[in-house]
Symmetry: C3
Subunit: 147 residues, 3 copies
């Protein structure tokens, strides 16, 4: 599949909403993003999926609960939630400085190729919402451009 000339650029936008009851969680959002893509009618292009909040991530990895446990443990060692006083950001009255750091490690966004109307994925790629400071409503933005 080399080069394809196309006539019009389309764009599509949708917000996905989450309210995670726990402080931290990983949620597979691949089905929602696929549904956005179908709805968009776009066949060739790029899909951006990003957290709209700065203590949450969108990333691509494996849908395996043991791995998610490993991420959780490893991130908590790397940037512990407590003692909250170890972070200057928490002097503002927040207790989520660790969440801002964890989100940087895991990433804000993914860009996924759209080919022949599908998310152009390898065999194990799945898109996750990573929550690091739950208990409130947050959004993920899906923006697709192409034709």
């Amino acid at each position: 599949m080399k080069e394809k000339a196309q006539n019009r650029m389309k764009s599509y936008r949708r917000e996905l909403w989450f309210e995670v009851p726990t402080r931290r969680a990983f949620i597979n959002i691949t089905p929602q993003v696929e549904s956005c893509l179908q709805d968009s009618g776009i066949n060739e292009g790029l899909a951006l999926v990003n957290a709209m909040h700065i203590t949450a991530s969108v990333f691509i990895n494996d849908d395996e609960s043991g791995l998610h446990h490993d991420y959780e443990t490893w991130l908590e060692e790397l940037a512990p939630h407590e003692p909250v006083a170890r972070y200057r950001h928490n002097l503002t009255g927040e207790d989520n400085a660790d969440a801002h750091i964890k989100r940087q490690v895991m990433g804000r966004e993914v860009v996924v190729a759209v080919t022949a109307g599908r998310l152009d994925f390898g065999p194990w790629e799945q898109i996750f919402y990573g929550e690091f400071d739950g208990g409130r409503k947050k959004r993920v933005l899906v923006k697709i451009i192409g034709d």
Copy 2:
């Protein structure tokens, strides 16, 4: 806002220049990127903002000085600048191996949705230039495509 058929693809490019006097700093560049977007005349599309240098980052997070202090402290623990001899890269005569590592953690680039002529942001999202090896002129690239 579902799907919008559009007729022409536009592209826009601008470089932002920085010369940070200190070794490390975080600079809010959101106003400059917004100005690029206005200048582009693009309403729907994607904006790529990336460091053109490999010891600097572009990332999105909170404009809060305590948090920036926490990032600085945490990154310096994770990949200390000194002793410079701990890094093989520094045998080349450089002393910035730590900066190459810090930049990987914080990221090279962000991709931001453009919707109705605006950067399509959540409530607290701001774009930062992260300098990890200052004292020289460096550039950030803003590339916007859409219509």
Copy 3:
């Protein structure tokens, strides 16, 4: 170079294949991506380059062997391969939990601006495939959209 009106959107897709004999390696894939871009005939747009596998990375940094040694050493300290039993993911029969973590730190993908038919790079930017669980065939996806 401000704004350019363009008439048609093109898209291009190619997979790059790798089979790294060692567990870990960094491979400069810039020439292959440049060759894709030439083949695409696209002059203005965005190029997405992503690992299609979840224990591998695509990232941009310096082509300097000392630095690659430093990345290797630093990542191995941050998320050691052994003892494999320290990771719950490895209870599935895998031994690559560390590779899933290392890939998150280094990143899945890069998005590169395409300007005047070239990868729009700063002076030292080079694209790397980062393998963290080698010994099998894996792919990188190159998707370019623009005109």
